[in-house]
Amino acid sequence: MQTTEAFQLHETIQITLKLFATFRIGRFTVASREYAKGTNIAAVIRELLIPEGQIGTIMLNSRHADPDRELNDGDILAIFPLVGGG
């Protein structure tokens, strides 16, 4: 039992990342990545080197989410750029 608890201290979560439009350039379309438990969306965005000002919509499991949201194992995170033309 003790080993299980010790393992949980370093628990990681598996996230599916989906990028849209220009964010795919030089990155990827879909990727599966491992993060430390407790990682939030903003940290993932920083790691992807996406400037905050370019972020349009953040979608977590098909629903709109804010950057301070903490991720859970199995989450699907999608990031869309800002679109503003007419």
Partner: protein, 281 residues
């Protein structure tokens, strides 16, 4: 109007009223084409130009569209197509708002622009185009920029407002004005191969949340420009939303954003939970 009604009924082919009869009634009774159209629709007659709107739109719904006012903010890439489609759909009054004149870089996508209209006001071109394609429709051209200060004056009477702007802060201000005036707003935006549409009813805050990360400047359109087909697609989706709001039927893009990716040909839906309700309003 009884005499007009009788005349129209006699001229009609079944319940369809041919265009030449609409013209003849206008001349004979010295009334506008719009007045003829309203009389016809109120008498259960369908101007023949709308026969392919059926069965999707009934005669009474066509009358509802004819009695509607829709304001289009921006008459560029999106606005031009929205105006064209609303006029052909038979929306009775279109308020077109834009301060600009056509420039050469508009020609690749803005349907109201031609070499002949370069240097001319976009709203004037809109008025001429609508008069040409559907004389029953009244286009009210307002050559001015929408501002929070003039919002109430220029949007007064509109049943729906269409966002065809190219500026994020102006959109956010427009969303605020529409909320204050209790008018539904259809948001559309484009950039390169990409676009998005959201429908917002008074009390919703989807558009505000859509741009909650925005700090300054433009979106991907600055880098990618806008090709000819993206505004046509997004404007058509916006027009379909307007039609459903005016008729009170169908499922709109309320509390969800449709993200359009024409490069990979993928359409994504993002659902927005209603904030106020989630917070226990």
């Amino acid at each position: 109007m009884n005499k007009v009604q009788d005349f129209l009924r006699k001229q009609a082919e079944g319940d369809l009223l041919p265009w030449l009869c609409q013209l003849a009634a206008s001349e004979k009774f010295d009334i506008t084409i719009a007045q003829v159209e309203e009389t016809a629709l109120a008498s259960g007659l369908l101007p023949a130009r709308y026969q392919r709107n059926r069965q999707g739109i009934s005669v009474s719904q066509q009358l509802a569209l004819f009695r509607s006012w829709v304001a289009i903010i921006g008459c560029g890439g999106l606005g031009g197509y929205v105006i064209e489609e609303l006029a052909r759909l038979g929306v009775g009054a279109i308020i077109a708002i834009d301060p600009d004149i056509f420039e050469e870089h508009n020609l690749n996508r803005q349907i109201l622009s031609t070499p002949a209209t370069l240097g001319r006001p976009k709203v004037k071109a809109a008025a001429l185009r609508v008069a040409e394609i559907n004389p029953a429709v009244t286009l009210i051209p307002i050559q001015a920029a929408y501002l929070p200060e003039n919002g109430e004056e220029i949007l007064k009477g509109a049943n729906v407002v269409v966002d065809a702007l190219d500026s994020i802060p102006t959109r956010l201000a427009l969303a605020q004005t529409c909320a204050q005036l209790d008018i539904p707003m259809v948001h559309g935006a484009i950039g390169g191969w990409y676009g998005q549409v959201v429908t917002q009813f008074p009390g919703d805050d989807t558009i505000q949340r859509l741009y909650s990360q925005w700090v300054e400047g433009k979106g991907v359109e600055q880098q990618l420009g806008n090709p000819s087909f993206t505004p046509a697609v997004v404007a058509s989706i916006e027009t379909a939303e307007v039609c459903k709001i005016l008729l009170g039927q169908g499922e709109t893009l309320r509390n969800r954003k449709l993200f359009i990716n024409l490069f990979d040909m993928q359409f994504e839906e993002i659902f927005f939970e209603r904030h106020l309700m989630a917070a226990g309003e």
